[in-house]
């Protein structure tokens, strides 16, 4: 017996299964009546309750097991629930109201909940029982896949549905070569039509995953008891170190069947979720309700509400079946599907295709009502369409613009806040937990002022989390400035995401513009702020060289007009002097410009360049034209870019010089100029260890020695004074250039915007930089080549472009008002 306490005479509730449905039933029950039952839960897995829908992020490495726990040990203790782990229940004795586990534990019940879930289908082809044939259902499966992925090699995933594709993406992210085999002509054919399936296949293939459709598995071939390959009906053989079967699930009903409960495909339940034995409820994927078995979380949670209420004595909350919507949890693939998608004589459809952007939207209509929706590429309107499906809204009035979604108002870019404000009260915000807008708003009005508070009271955003942004927008709408977002490592108040996360998502989701980033990453402001916009502009520029179009309005004035703004609103300009070398012609041009434009101050900078201070903004293009005419180009003294390469005179003149520091400095500057970087970059080359160019307080410094070049980096002599670290020693000048460009590229790829090199180094560590730039020659070459590639788009003199008339609006004030008044 589990509990022999005679004094506790509460009713006994036993739960078989500890998945998401069972966990949710207990929450629903405890919310209504905390102490009515003595609760015992049997869990065949040796674990607490975790969020099974988040297994794919665990597989791909975006989350850890700890992050997907729903109920930890403390929860069971706090609620007085006895959790028996690792024991599978093998029999229900309905006559004596007992359950018996495989190790002989017996538990009496007054009420019993069967929540045995489902199990994966195994296709019974020859070889299905070989070592290395896995399913994808629980954490054990994920751990088995992770162990296999650690060895690398090839994975074949059988099944191109939701689970199969998530498994494939996860295994690919873990470094395996992956092939997906799918029996049908298009992927996810149960949720998608052919067009969306095609786009999905392209997106999956673009991640380097091979997709074979119309693939009928004939057998799994083995060697020495382990998987070796998958053979198809047409004779093709695909090598495999592991095979993941993800072809579907079937309700787990053996236990219920043995106990004599009525079973069809699933365990049969009525609208109160009662089985044929009134003392026994069933919930989750093991049940069949009105002919339907469900494999998604939202219906399970709706069922759990009914069971929780029923256990608390309230039979008024009947479950009447669910409409379901699906999202694919593969980072960077946006796909949403809801309702009925089949064509029919009485059905019409509205389709929008945008091939250039890989967007596809299709609505299935019946009698002026939406009954199904597929969205690919842009899924923002999914919940809105789903709401109309559920409500059975008559859409004849808005039919013309329906496909453009909720935001369509005929003008202006989308403001996400306005879209949230416009949602009706009964709009579903959290699909996993079925929480509507009014429930969240009333929780906020009831005093919840934080995301965690709303999660705790409404459960919204507590499952897959994809609605977190919406919930936060509701908090912000209701509380305004009183809502303190979690900005711990956020870029700025416009987002909770940190710099690193934003950079990762820009690449993973292939976001190519600032509006795309703000839309996809659910920015909380309509067009960002002066902190995030320049950072996003840089990240996009660094991620998509040659593709992304620089957004001038997201640049600080210095970079917008290629000159430094000074305290009185005038500007200063610094022409480039390669390696600090100039000549009489250039000096004469500078002197002439200073005279011609009455430039009040001419000053030598700390970086061995000449600064012309006090230039009027309107004069800038003409000043540049004159400087350009003498062969001088912009020194980027205003930019987050390479500023200067300072040099000493080196072995050409100096009696101690060991190498040609001047010509090396010139080479470096000519090679590196124009590159946009997270912060300013200063360099120096000293011809000997006396270090007259002060190379050891620069972002990158070269100290020439007899045997070659010492390469230093991550120094600074500004607000913080930092001596450089030694990167390595090299022998030839071309090695200096290759290491320098590779280092700069790594910094550009990894640093947060406005981090000098030493701050980036402090975060990633010396080992990381040396491994990437020094030890791994292939990687260094790769970084170098990426740098060279992006320089193709960076090395054009911004001064000559402006002198030729580009962005002339920047430099000319508007004429005074025309004095004839208009009304």
């Amino acid at each position: 017996m589990v509990d022999s306490t005679k004094t506790d005479n509460r009713e006994r509730l036993v739960v078989i299964g500890n998945g998401m449905a069972a966990g949710r039933v207990l929450e629903e029950l405890f919310e209504r009546e905390r102490d009515r039952y003595r609760v015992t839960v049997f869990n065949a897995e040796p674990r607490v309750n975790y969020n099974r829908i988040m297994l794919s992020p665990v597989l791909s490495g975006e989350k850890t097991y700890e992050e997907i726990l729903i109920h930890d040990d403390a929860w069971y203790a706090a609620n007085g629930v006895e959790l028996i782990r690792g024991e599978k229940v093998i029999a229900i004795n309905r006559d004596e109201r007992k359950v018996i586990s495989a190790v002989g534990t017996v538990a009496d019940y007054d009420r019993l909940i069967v929540a045995t879930g489902s199990q994966p289908f195994i296709i019974p082809v020859p070889g299905h029982d070989l070592d290395g044939v896995l399913t994808y259902r629980d954490l054990d499966d994920v751990e088995a896949m992770l162990a296999a992925a650690e060895k690398g090699g090839r994975a074949v995933v059988i099944g191109g549905g939701l689970l199969g594709l998530e498994a494939a993406a996860g295994l690919k992210a873990r470094g395996m070569d992956v092939t997906v085999l799918h029996l049908m002509p298009t992927l996810m054919e149960r949720q998608l039509d052919q067009s969306a399936g095609y786009l999905l296949q392209k997106a999956i293939e673009a991640r380097g995953i091979e997709v074979v459709t119309r693939a009928n598995t004939h057998e799994i071939a083995g060697a020495a008891g382990a998987v070796r390959a998958v053979r198809l009906d047409d004779g093709r053989e695909i090598p495999a170190d592991i095979v993941v079967m993800a072809v579907g699930i079937k309700p787990n009903v053996d236990l219920a069947k043995d106990a004599g409960l009525e079973v069809n495909r699933g365990l049969l339940v009525d609208d109160l979720m009662r089985t044929s034995d009134p003392a026994i409820y069933a919930v989750g994927e093991c049940v069949e309700h009105r002919g339907q078995c469900y494999g998604l979380v939202a219906p399970l949670y709706e069922m759990a509400k009914t069971v929780g209420a029923g256990l608390a004595g309230d039979d008024g909350l009947a479950y009447r079946g669910s409409l379901t919507a699906t999202k694919l949890k593969v980072t960077g693939v946006d796909l949403y599907s809801a309702g009925e998608l089949a064509e029919g004589d009485d059905r019409e459809e509205i389709v929008l295709r945008d091939a250039a952007h890989s967007i596809y939207k299709r609505l299935v209509l019946q009698e002026n009502r939406i009954i199904g929706a597929v969205l690919y590429g842009d899924t923002a309107d999914g919940p809105w369409f789903f709401q109309h499906i559920k409500n059975g809204t008559d859409i004849s009035e808005m039919r013309e613009t329906l496909i453009f979604g909720q935001g369509f108002a005929g003008a202006g870019p989308l403001d996400p806040m306005a879209a949230v404000a416009a949602l009706p009260d009964d709009a579903e915000i959290c699909g996993c937990n079925g929480v509507c807008k009014s429930r969240i708003v009333s929780a906020i009005e009831g005093g919840q002022a934080t995301l965690d508070g709303v999660r705790a009271t409404t459960k919204a955003s507590s499952s897959c989390g994809s609605c977190t942004g919406l919930v936060e927008q509701l908090l912000e709408l209701s509380l305004g400035g009183d809502f303190a977002r979690a900005v711990a490592d956020g870029m700025c108040p416009c987002t909770d995401l940190g710099h690193g996360e934003v950079r990762r998502l820009i690449a993973a989701k292939e976001l190519m513009s600032i509006p795309a980033v703000m839309q996809e990453l659910q920015w909380k402001t309509s067009c960002g702020c002066a902190k995030c916009r320049p950072a996003l502009n840089y990240y996009l520029l660094a991620t998509w060289p040659g593709i992304y179009v620089d957004d001038q309005q997201s640049r600080f004035i210095n970079e917008r007009v290629h000159a430094n703004i000074q305290k009185d609103g005038t500007y200063s300009v610094v022409p480039r002097m390669w390696g600090g070398i100039t000549n009489p012609t250039e000096l004469r041009a500078i002197a002439d410009v200073a005279d011609k434009f009455a430039i009040p101050t001419v000053k030598v900078t700390g970086g061995q360049r000449i600064d012309l201070l006090g230039v009027k903004k309107e004069d800038l293009p003409a000043v540049w034209a004159d400087l350009n005419a003498a062969g001088l180009v912009s020194g980027h003294a205003y930019g987050k870019a390479l500023r200067t390469v300072k040099t000493c005179v080196g072995n050409e003149w100096c009696r101690f010089g060991t190498q040609a520091s001047v010509s090396l400095g010139v080479q470096m500057e000519r090679f590196l100029w124009g590159a946009w970087t997270p912060h300013k970059v200063k360099m120096a080359v000293s011809g000997c260890p006396r270090n007259c160019a002060e190379a050891t307080v620069k972002d990158f410094g070269v100290v020439c020695v007899d045997s070659g070049f010492e390469l230093h980096f991550a120094g600074a002599a500004g607000m913080e004074v930092k001596a450089t670290q030694l990167l390595c020693k090299v022998v030839a000048e071309e090695d200096v250039l290759e290491h320098c460009a590779a280092l700069l590229q790594l910094y550009r790829q990894e640093a947060h915007y406005l981090d000098r090199m030493h701050k980036w180094l402090a975060r990633v560590g010396m080992d990381h930089v040396q491994a990437a730039v020094v030890e791994d020659a292939d990687n260094r070459r790769d970084l170098y080549e990426r740098f060279v590639f992006s320089q193709r788009f960076a090395q054009s003199d911004p001064w000559s472009e402006r002198a030729a008339g580009r962005d002339s609006h920047e430099f000319t004030p508007l004429e005074g008002p025309k004095l004839e008044a208009v009304t």
């Binding site: 202006g412 870019p413 403001d415 402001t525 309509s526 067009c527 960002g528 702020c529 002066a530 916009r533 320049p534 001038q552 309005q553 997201s554 640049r555 600080f556 004035i557 210095n558 917008r560 007009v561 703004i565 305290k567 609103g569 609006h809 004030p813 508007l814 004429e815 005074g816 008002p817 025309k818 004095l819 004839e820 008044a821 208009v822 009304t823």
Partner: protein, 118 residues
Amino acid sequence: MKLTTEKWLDIAALNDIPRRGGRVLKVAGGCIALFRTNDDQVFALDDRCPHKAGPLSQGIVHGAAVTCPLHNWVISLETGEAMGADEGQVATYSAKVSNGRVLVGQECLRLGMEPADG
């Protein structure tokens, strides 16, 4: 005496001002900053930050606010008030868009004739 804004002055085409950007309008008494927001509203303010007289017209425009290029004060385009912890206000003028043209209230001509807050 207070001028009303019954009379509007036609200044420029809306597209003369970059979206999320600003232009300087020179009038007899000084400079006015004209801004165009992401959603094509226009605003007119004195082109002097209340902090150290920075040229607001050169700042980054976001939402209905501009960040001063000198020391990052954020000024509301609607009220001219400094936002956040900073305190101060810059004079504002009425401005609107009509048929693709930017119109500014003629009271802007008073700029420099008496104290902006006067």
